[in-house]
């Protein structure tokens, strides 16, 4: 591009009047002249400066100037998805598996609205993401122009922050702040809406760091008095429990190490939310398993009976608490969270600690010092009693593969490869959470808060890009996988060896399970009819397709999936009517879990039906 030189400016920059006289010949330093570049060029340069490796996107009219800048720029790799929802979920998978922010680039109107589900998903699961949306030119905004949508208005309540950039001079500072907001404090998606004429118009971009006012300063360090009080409470507890969440994962790998260290010092048993799996090792003797609606009996009973609950980066979600008035009635509750609005939102706590999980855990370990763990024998014996119920037991069948068994087998055959697992949403997601073991953070990618079917395949694609060489498996259901099935093409195009492992029961299993429990098994629209031949479909996209009908084929099928150096789609036919247990029915307390053995069918009162 043409660089506009500004006479006068560069003479001063070259210091004609001072240095020039002392050192002899005058040298005008050309590289100190800021060049005028287009908004699109400023954007791409800003992304490079943020260390962005991948942009997940789809071109369109309102982002053509940006796509032209990306053309031939080898510093950023653009991953062309097949639908903008795929771009957003792929960015989430990349972010969740690497800890780095995901970047999305979509056009105005339908490009932006298609990305909204992924933005909302990232908002509820606190995933760092920067979404660049094209917008119609500023003079056309408000005129219902072609492909115009009010992206700022539409995303207002489902992103952490959003911007409409009206002048290219604001672009560099906006992008810089967007990344800061997306990645610090409680992470989340930030939307930057850039009108097309702002992408074309020019402004200067200096070489140095962007100068801008600093206006976002999340509180990282816990108040020392609160830390001291928390340590007293934990040290004097006879039945403590650590209830950990996605905040530990978001706080970085160090937080997981510190959690393990603090647990070792205190001896407290640990349970985790769906989002927190991997922060604490699944094979540790004090690991209770996941808690909540499909959590283990021992985790939920221990939450109910504990005397001191330490919530570390979790948010008392309704899937975790069950009936609120029966939630852990006799415990003192400590809540560590970086987001002030999470505290006392659902459950009133005795001691809130506002801060970052890793930082606060480090402070707690320091204050704990050389104390010895309290004698928790009695408490652990009670927990052993609950474990003896073996809440994850399920009936075996000879004529069909139980889905739980398929996950157990998948885990057994892949655990040494340290795989990254993504999921879709439904029964298979819960079975994966229950029967797949995680011992490291950033290995488990699932749509927890929003519960977005269609998340898993694009998330696996993003994770594979961020983790080249690692085994990445999307554990899916045959219904969910069809929600973003078009992304098979993305994996083919970019030669990504992702694996999709479908537990195919020809039902939207979780919907069918609820209909069984609450609507007398009236399976209204919860069956998967007219399914494609998944093997042929996979092959049509250049994938390898494998079908598993029978338990005798299970091990060989999984091994063939792992062995193939390329994307593989496994259609694993499983027992059609298997249900996901244990389960706290909607509106019930932790102590009212249903186990596989005592499953019931019938109907519920209207109040219970009204609960989600």
């Amino acid at each position: 591009m043409v660089v506009e030189r500004r006479p006068g400016t560069d003479i001063r920059a070259g210091s004609v009047f001072s240095r020039g006289r002392e050192t002899g010949p005058v040298q005008v330093k050309v590289n100190e002249v800021s060049e005028e570049r287009s908004g699109a060029s400023i954007l791409v340069e800003s992304l490079v400066r943020q260390g962005v490796e991948f942009v997940f996107g789809y071109p369109g009219g309102a982002v053509l100037p940006i796509y032209d800048e990306l053309f031939g720029d080898e510093r950023i790799r653009h991953i062309l998805v097949r639908h903008e929802a795929g771009a957003a979920h792929a960015a989430e998978g990349y972010a969740r598996s690497t800890g780095k922010p995901g970047v999305v680039l979509v056009t105005s109107g339908p490009g932006a609205t298609n990305a909204v589900t992924g933005i909302a998903d990232a908002f509820l699961d606190s995933i760092p993401m920067v979404v660049i949306t094209g917008q119609v030119a500023t003079n056309l905004i408000g005129t219902d122009a072609f492909q115009e949508a009010d992206t700022i208005g539409i995303t207002r309540h489902c992103c952490k922050h959003n911007y409409l950039v009206k002048d290219p001079t604001e672009l560099a500072a906006t992008i810089d702040e967007a990344f800061e907001i997306a990645t610090t404090g409680r992470p989340g998606p930030v939307v930057v809406d850039i009108p097309k004429n702002v992408q074309v118009a020019t402004a200067e971009l200096g070489d140095g760091p962007v100068q801008r006012p600093k206006r976002y300063a999340p509180n990282m360090v816990g108040a020392p008095d609160d830390i001291a009080e928390a340590i007293e409470m934990i040290a004097n507890a006879r039945a403590p429990i650590f209830y950990t969440g996605g905040g530990v994962i978001n706080s970085g790998a160090r937080a997981s190490e510190l959690l393990r260290e603090f647990q070792r010092l205190t001896g407290a048993p640990v349970t985790s939310t769906l989002m927190g799996l991997g922060a604490f090792p699944f094979d540790h003797p004090d690991w209770l398993g996941m808690l909540g609606m499909h959590g283990t009996y021992e985790a939920n009973m221990a939450m109910n009976q504990c005397d001191v609950m330490v919530n570390i980066g979790a948010r008392f979600d309704d899937r975790v608490t069950g009936r609120l008035d029966a939630f852990s009635p006799d415990s003192k509750k400590i809540h560590i969270d970086i987001d002030r609005s999470s505290i006392n939102k659902v459950i009133a706590v005795d001691l809130p600690i506002l801060g970052d999980c890793a930082t606060v855990l480090e402070q707690m370990i320091a204050v704990w010092g050389s104390r010895k763990p309290a004698d928790l024998t009695e408490w652990k014996n009670r927990i052993k009693g609950w474990c003896a119920r073996d809440s994850l037991a399920y009936p075996k069948r000879d004529d069909a593969i139980m889905p739980q068994l398929a996950i157990e087998k998948l885990f057994e055959l892949t655990r040494d490869l340290d795989p990254v697992i993504s999921t879709e949403v439904g029964q298979h997601q819960m079975w994966a959470a229950q029967y797949f073991g995680f011992d490291k953070p950033h290995r488990w990618l699932t749509s927890g808060g929003l519960g977005t079917m269609g998340y898993g395949l694009p998330a696996a694609i993003g994770a594979q890009l961020g983790n080249p060489g690692r085994l990445v498996i999307d554990i899916a259901g045959e219904a969910s996988i069809q929600m973003n099935i078009q992304e098979l093409g993305t994996a083919s195009q970019f030669r990504l060896p992702v694996k999709v492992f479908v537990l195919n029961n020809e039902y939207m299993g979780m919907v069918r399970q609820w209909q069984e429990l609450t609507y007398e098994s009236r399976y209204s629209n919860s069956y998967s009819d007219s399914l494609p031949d998944f093997v042929k479909m996979a092959e049509a996209y250049g994938w390898k397709g494998i079908r598993i009908h029978d338990e005798s084929e299970l091990e060989a099928g999984i091994k063939a999936m792992i062995a193939h150096d390329g994307p593989v789609f496994v259609d694993c036919r499983v027992a059609k009517e298997a249900n996901c247990f244990p389960m706290i029915p909607s509106g019930a307390a932790h102590t009212e879990m249903l186990l596989y053995g005592d499953q019931v069918a019938g109907t519920l009162e209207d109040e219970a039906k009204a609960l989600v």
Partner: protein, 171 residues
């Protein structure tokens, strides 16, 4: 290429709306979505049965944009009437401000004297401060505030304007 900015004019709109949940957000959202400006916005219930509110919006924009604003507002289901007071002819605009001034000695006396000139009421007083209540046009309040700046201005709160057409007809 540089971004062009167009000449704008100021308008006062009186909007009568159903008093339902979310109506203020809907109207404010319309302004941001379509890139319109809000200089001031006031809203209060005006009916005996709490069914109707009146929103007074001061905006600026090119004439055709102002016309669009009126049309877009009228398109919202809970909006009954939109009257562009600036277009309809002579109208009255009033705003209320609370102005806190602290100081002693001559400044304090001068503040009180000026308040009298501007017909501001003293609504709170200590030995070292006053809160004045002043009603009038935005310009009148601007000039009073700028005078107080020299005499120990601490804080200003303004309501934004409400407006009404002159003469016997309602908006």
């Amino acid at each position: 290429m540089k971004i062009q900015h167009r000449e704008t004019e100021r308008h006062v709109l009186a909007v009568t709306v159903d008093n339902e949940a979310g109506i203020l957000a809907k109207i404010a959202g319309l302004f941001t979505a379509r890139g319109y400006n809000i200089d001031s916005l006031t809203v209060a219930d005006i009916s005996e049965n709490h069914a109707v509110s009146r929103i007074t919006i001061v905006t600026h924009g090119p004439p055709q944009v102002i016309d669009q604003i009126q049309a877009q507002l009228e398109r919202l289901v809970p909006v009954h009437r939109v009257v562009d007071l600036s277009e309809e002819g002579p109208h009255v605009e009033r705003e209320l401000a609370l102005i806190k001034v602290a100081g002693k000695g001559e400044n304090r006396v001068e503040a009180l004297r000026l308040a009298d000139v501007f017909r501001a009421n003293v609504v709170d007083s200590t030995t070292s401060s006053f809160i004045f209540e002043l009603t009038g046009t935005p310009e009148k309040i601007d000039s009073f505030v700028s005078l107080m700046r020299e005499l120990g201005l601490v804080e200003v709160g303004r309501t934004g304007i409400v407006g009404m057409m002159r003469g016997p007809n309602g908006a």
